[in-house]
Symmetry: C2
Subunit: 411 residues, 2 copies
């Protein structure tokens, strides 16, 4: 379902005509720049992206490691009784080499002394005072993890650009990386506009509704691991918008919502221009979210999302989230897949439709259940959606069982 | 691949024999109790689970809402020119009913006055001074979202027990829930033991290795949205363990790692008993992580994970994560699926094997790429794993293309 990206020569003069959703995404990704790496403590690194390569500082295991509690012996001891010369716990070292006729009691994780050929588990031996009787069969290397068998010193363990998972943290801790260079996450500022909007804790008068987009967009940012964004509410006047833009000036990404259509009170495009931002595009051939606006001022990015909640949600998760991922060092494009519709679905119009859906793993692949909204202001009936199905024109009707492409929402 | 859960009558005296991984998980889930709900601000609720039902406080839309910028008119105006009686922005109200021969200029989001039958988009009309000419065709209800069409007042929007996503936050903000009752997440404390362990920022002497499990387990907890756990290191003595347990006493879940085998320096079981905890089980017929220990003291849970990093990782993501989910109000069982092996894989022994794997969506279902570790101390070679494949005995060899069950890791 995904169209080929147009080559550079086809790049439109974005402000003069509508562009399609692939071009819009491409322009966002091109404009977003990966942030400068910063140093963080290992304990605060999970979820970030590594900005350096990490290699093994020494061999792993760093010594021939006993894998069980038992006795380090030579193979010549098989079937016989040998003298127990001492005991070695994990963390200790036995300096002298082991010779024939000797056994060293050894604990899991301890280094086998030079000359050790096997570790006989304590469950299979017969210890009597200072002597231990060994089983008939001992194998070379039995219960010994040889030095460097997991990884030799110097081998690259984790590449620059890899996301840091808990398992990665385990690897980084092992090799002694208490501090790491990582790509930080951008800061997001939110400006909500709209004369009909009141706060969540206020009681709406006639004609008023509560501002749901500000909290929803902030929650998207938090769910992506960002610091809770600053949310500023602005009246529909040039002065109020200018003040609001100044108040979120420290954010690398500013999300405005409302005020981006072509109406009398849609002042966001002019306010951004007055603020010194260059408009990159305005209006995308997509449903929902046609009036999407994107502008930049140096490295600072501005997204104007429509005021309708579904349009705002979609605009965030497809375009703003891509910029956040790129700035954070991740692959910017939304992850997606293909799955089969549980029910039929009909599409109208000539724009690319992105329809909320609940996608779940089925026996033979993804099952895609369309969530039906009343209009682009309706998020009540689609709040279980975790993906957006993409339907490009001229598709008009998809039957149950049809294969469709989808993009995961950035949850 | 998943075995049926044994009924209560079959419940073993867990301390006297090894139990299987299903019974172990069941005992953990039974012991973990959902935490008491707390009140949080909407802005801090994303990722938590709702502990109350939420219904619509009024109709949505709360009025017949204009869906486009244009003119509110009666159908009788079709094809004619009518008087523009005024202008209504979003947030305002027009008190008088609209009558034949009248048009009200209206903005998206504003309430249509009584008597409105259609909103004609401004792009299709011809405005001349105080008169507007309308198109030949107007439809009843055109561009009007009727009051209550998305949701009538009183309808339950979100059930108790639902996880709070960004879209849910949008719904909750709309209906005015500035404060919410949610299930909090448990606090986790970590106690690392092992004479061979040094800190991440220290230089290992002979026989020593850095403590990787403490940071890895802390990272797992952070990745699940929990506060960064307190990590305490304890020497292998009863006194040191007792002190360490006191230091993490405020945590609902205590994860100990190391010291759970049956060796001379494996003092965790005794330390827990001395601390007043009841041992629920010790040793599970699984690989890795056979010496897994689980104990409780009232509502406080204790997990003794083996010191080997892969065993510790698996023990966290299968058992500790299940307890965290249950306490947080989520479905406790690990999510899983079935997929096809990209390469063959051979299994030895009579325990259930959980093997790290990278699972990705393929064209016809899940593709399961086994990650091959050297031993259960090796996380270098498996750190791209995102799932654990489950192979129950007597399976010995799985060929490429074979269907296997897997459980997602709690990342």
């Amino acid at each position: 379902m995904v169209k080929a990206i147009a080559s550079s020569e086809e790049m439109p003069s974005a402000m003069h005509k509508m562009i399609d959703p692939d071009m819009a995404l491409r322009l966002v990704v091109e404009a977003a720049e990966r942030l400068e790496p910063v140093e963080v403590e290992l304990g605060h690194s999970v979820g970030l992206v590594l900005a350096q390569q990490v290699a093994a500082d020494r061999d792993y295991p760093p010594f021939n490691r006993a894998m069980m509690d038992g006795y380090a012996v030579r193979l010549s001891a098989a079937g016989g009784a040998v003298a127990v010369i001492g005991e070695l716990a994990a963390g200790g070292v036995w300096e002298r080499p082991l010779t024939d006729g000797q056994a060293l009691e050894i604990m899991t994780g301890a280094p086998c002394p030079e000359g050790t050929e096997a570790v006989a588990p304590k469950e299979v031996v017969d210890r009597q005072g200072e002597t231990v009787r060994l089983p008939e069969s001992l194998k070379q290397g039995q219960n010994i993890a040889p030095r460097a068998s997991a990884c030799p010193a110097g081998r690259v363990l984790i590449d620059q650009g890899e996301p840091i998972t808990p398992l990665t943290v385990g690897v980084l801790a092992t090799v002694g990386r208490a501090q790491l260079r990582v790509y930080p996450r951008p800061r997001v500022g939110i400006v909500s506009t709209g004369g009909e909007l009141i706060g969540v804790d206020e009681t709406p008068g006639p004609g008023q509704i509560r501002n749901s987009n500000g909290p929803m967009i902030a929650a998207y940012a938090c769910a992506m691991g960002l610091e809770a964004p600053r949310v500023v509410e602005a009246a529909d006047t040039p002065e109020a918008l200018a003040t609001a833009l100044e108040r979120v000036a420290a954010a690398e990404i500013v999300v405005l919502n409302g005020g981006v259509s072509a109406g009398k009170y849609d002042l966001v495009p002019q306010a951004l221009t007055a603020f010194g931002a260059e408009l990159v595009f305005h209006k995308v051939t997509q449903k929902p979210g046609k009036p999407l606006l994107f502008a930049r001022r140096g490295r600072q990015l501005f997204f104007g999302l429509p005021g309708n909640p579904l349009s705002a949600s979609f605009g965030f998760h497809r375009y703003v989230a891509a910029a956040i991922r790129k700035m954070s060092g991740r692959r910017p494009q939304p992850e997606g897949g293909k799955g089969r519709l549980t029910d039929g679905f009909r599409v109208k119009g000539d724009r690319t439709v992105f329809q909320p859906a609940r996608v779940e793993a089925g026996a033979t692949g993804w099952r895609v259940a369309i969530q039906r909204n009343i209009d682009s202001a309706d998020i009540f009936n689609i709040h279980h959606a975790n993906a957006m199905v993409r339907l490009d024109p001229p598709v008009e009707e998809c039957l149950a069982g049809a294969e469709v492409g989808f993009e995961w929402m950035s949850l």
